[in-house]
Symmetry: C2
Subunit: 559 residues, 2 copies
């Protein structure tokens, strides 16, 4: 026969370490079978229920502390609950000694003026305030706290961008700066691979595997999981790419994230392309366009990203070519006879082209309003049902495609036209004979206009692959045998210089020995000192001891 | 000054070749500048308008033929329109000679009884009827026609499956059977690579590249673009995989398609796994789970698929292992501390597990209703915000995860539990010390239950990767260093024998010299004879000469 007893403490603030230690302390007491110590949220009560620890009827709010004890009898249970204050007091002694603990960030800065980073792991509702203070003091922020609002995240990151500072997070689990791990981080060799990740354990897995493969890490910048959402616009990831681009220690860059929004993905890949360093991309769960485009290498998994980065680090080719190309700000138009080829072209080109429209779009946003009129960058599948009523397939009858080709060539906004030509049995017996005169005519009118063609076929096809390709090439088209190589060519024509609205972050952020102020979880401070980084821990308490009513009263009195 | 004239022929049927030839004939006449010959659909009128060929005000229906001529003057225009009948009559002479042309499928079968295939490229509204007739005659069908309804596709494919016959299509552009290309196909070397593709030009590109890389193709089976939609359930793709599995000539299989629905993808990948031959998968635009799982190889593009297949063909390892494994029909439960690791695990496991649920799902359908209770296969991210209020991260505090681990282990439906353990600074100083006793306890109670763990870390982490892994391994867990290898292990435990509702297709379909009856585009018949395949062309006319009212009247009189 077991007995359960509980105690509620209303509206008091305790940090999570204290709660864990109290629970462990209670479980270790004589006669106690199990114990639970939680903030009384619905989720936490559900968890207690799953362990048969939830009292039958309690009335507690999410900001109340609920302490439950299951014991062998009533006396053991009451004794245990009686020890709560004693157990809470015992906690202090376990910490690493620090002579004098400042109570505020500004006091901490006076004590450790060389601190260039502030680590924040206080509860979410207080975190934005502390981060704002850190930015005002000119410090970079590692924001571990979760449950920070999206609005706060956006405003913090915009402020940071204006000041040339980084905000990693909120909900940023991991970073490695100048050899020192922040938050959760694995010990890894220093080396030429720099990482940007909207994913904490993703960064941990990849950095660990890079180390295991014998390579090393220059820096790993976390961004927080929401950074690549369209509302935030990947502010931190863009800053981090800019830093690693300029960092001479970083030879290869790895970019990892859960699937970003389409526009953010394109902007980020354009920025990655502009680094002119090899960039390994793994947007986990996002379709891979093809193994490689220009300096971008698309990995098939986190482990594949580590492997690729390690291979590239052996011989990191840095391309110093001019970034601004004549095709930037001109449109690409694709006129395809093969549906799958069109689809693969969209998949590849959306890497760097935005907006991109099609009559056979991959995403809803790419849907072309009028299939008879191209808009911005457009890929048309002319074998689509709508074009096919009473008409031969464009692989047999070139008439419709040639008319459209003239139409696109007459558009002064167009810089490149992309076509496929599929040979083989069943197809037109000599498509070059019909395309050559039109291409010559177009190139004569506008020699700047690039015409790129994929010619699909074999040397034993009736039309002869080599002969068809040669005649088209002589007419002025650039010929490729498949979508990957043609898209790679086009992507290289589209290199853009990085957009520069942001105040550049000083490379000192990476070069100076890491020194940090820690606000929140003491264990993060302990990790820093174990890694022999300079650090100071702030003995932070929430305003008014966590009493929110009192806190808002105090805040009002201040203003 | 140019002049435009037009002519409308109401409700008459002409095949697309006739229309193309008429247009070319008109354009070649003296004084004619341009001409358009189209069925008067909205899309076709828009196309005429784009070429400045659409008359100002016409009243034509989609099944009317619209003939437009733009000429230098009125006389030239009238003369041209006056030649329409003559030009239509001229067409016949161009065809390849065939002594006697049957007018029906059944007559053609009498003339070429060894025909095992029927190629159908008549207009969409007639195609299903012809296909039904072909199936009734016991023939495999290559259905090129588009604009066939989804209902007709499903009913045709179900009928075929019951009869052990294949229906490739509708809207199937390409196939290569026993060395002969059907529809649009490239000439390629014979060899050990068999393909299944819901994508015509995809098959053309990959077969062409395989040829160019020096390898060859056993067979390439097209399915039509809608086969992998959930309504159709990939009937043809499953039949094709079954055929290539049993075909001794095929050593490596390539499976390509635009992104299929999630359930269809899983079922198809399970069938691909069951072939026990190396299968290269490229669901274009579908996220790659990782480069390889069991015998499945995920390609990053069509070109990458060709390259991979060619590499695998050099040494095609055929795995004769037992298919039915003890874990089939038991559930997998994953309890993760790392959000990205959980996400990557879902991405990998959804390859073969359906349904699969999570509190951090990839698709809406994977959303777990109650995060505190697992259902079927479930992956939980215990670092999710909902679990985190007033609680330390599960990488520091193992309590919640260990409670949940016991809960899952007590579920008799569970066959495997999947955990991650992330080491490094900031994380628990010795997680093995807390997990080892629970694992021992679980393995003692239920030795059949597999516990699979990813341990992320390095040899210089404070907890020491090797030591942690060894202790967990000795307790009975199976240890892996990353998601890819752990998921690969689990996927191998889940091998299922192929589902066998279908009547197996005789391998004769692939082995017998291809002989075909062609109904529709004459050029496909010409291609067959050029490839020296036995073929016969049916001089097909639509019922009642294309007059739909009359046709439906005749149909009603028949019944």
């Amino acid at each position: 026969m077991t007995i359960g007893k509980y105690k509620i403490r209303r509206g008091a603030y305790y940090d999570s370490v204290v709660l864990m230690q109290l629970q462990r302390g209670l479980t270790g007491l004589p006669g106690v079978i199990d114990a639970g110590v939680v903030m009384a949220t619905q989720a936490n009560c559900d968890l207690l229920a799953a362990s048969q620890l939830l009292p039958d009827s309690i009335s507690a709010n999410p900001d109340d502390l609920l302490i439950v004890v299951k014991a062998e009898d009533d006396t053991f249970a009451m004794d245990a609950l009686g020890k709560v204050d004693e157990l809470l007091a015992r906690r202090r002694s376990s910490g690493i000694a620090q002579d004098f603990r400042p109570h505020s960030l500004s006091a901490a800065v006076k004590q450790l003026p060389e601190a260039n980073w502030v680590l924040i792991s206080v509860p979410g509702r207080y975190a934005a305030g502390v981060a704002r203070e850190a930015l005002a003091l000119g410090k970079h922020v590692f924001l571990y706290s979760d449950n920070v609002s999206l609005e706060d995240e956006i405003s913090l990151k915009k402020t940071a961008r204006e000041k040339g500072l980084l905000v990693m997070g909120p909900d940023c689990g991991t970073a490695i700066i100048n050899g020192v791990g922040l938050g959760f981080a694995n010990r890894v060799r220093r080396g030429p691979i720099g990482l940007v990740g909207a994913s904490g354990t993703g960064l941990q897995l990849v950095t660990s595997e890079i180390h295991t493969l014998g390579e090393g890490v220059s820096h790993a910048v976390g961004t927080g999981g929401r950074d690549l959402k369209s509302e935030v616009g990947a502010i931190t990831a863009h800053q981090a790419l800019g830093l690693l681009r300029r960092d001479p220690e970083t030879k290869v860059i790895v970019l990892i994230s859960k699937p970003p929004s389409a526009e953010v993905a394109t902007e980020l890949l354009v920025a990655a392309q502009a680094t002119r360093k090899p960039v390994v991309v793994n947007f986990i769960g996002y379709p891979v366009p093809c193994p490689g485009l220009d300096n971008l290498h698309f990995a098939g998994s986190l482990t594949d990203a580590a492997r690729l980065a390690t291979t590239l680090a052996e011989d990191p080719f840095v391309d110093e070519e001019e970034l601004a190309t004549p095709l930037v700000n001109r449109y690409v138009r694709g006129l395809f006879s093969g549906g799958t080829l069109a689809y693969a072209a969209i998949l590849g080109l959306q890497t760097v082209l935005f907006p991109l429209y099609s009559n056979t779009p991959i995403t809803e946003a790419q849907k072309l309003v009028d299939p008879f009129r191209s808009s911005a960058n457009t890929i048309i599948d002319l074998g689509d049902d709508i074009f096919m009523v009473g008409r031969l397939h464009p692989m047999i009858d070139n008439d419709m495609r040639i008319r459209r080709l003239r139409q696109e060539a007459d558009d002064p906004g167009v810089g490149l036209i992309f076509l496929d030509l599929v040979l083989g049995d069943g197809a037109h017996p000599d498509p070059a004979s019909e395309f050559v005169p039109v291409i010559q005519e177009i190139k004569k009118k506008n020699p700047q206009l690039k015409i790129v063609m994929i010619v699909v076929g074999t040397n034993i096809d009736p039309q002869k692959l080599g002969a068809q390709s040669n005649r088209l090439r002589e007419a002025g088209a650039v010929i490729f045998p498949n979508v990957d190589s043609a898209v790679d060519f086009i992507v290289r024509q589209m290199r853009r210089a990085p957009v520069n609205g942001a105040v550049p972050i000083s490379l000192d952020a990476l070069r100076q020995p890491l020194a940090a102020i820690n606000v929140g979880l003491e264990s993060f401070y302990e990790s820093l000192t174990l890694q022999e980084a300079q650090a100071i821990h702030v003995d932070w308490r929430p305003p008014a001891g966590g009493n929110e009513k009192l806190a808002s009263l105090l805040a009002r009195m201040k203003t």
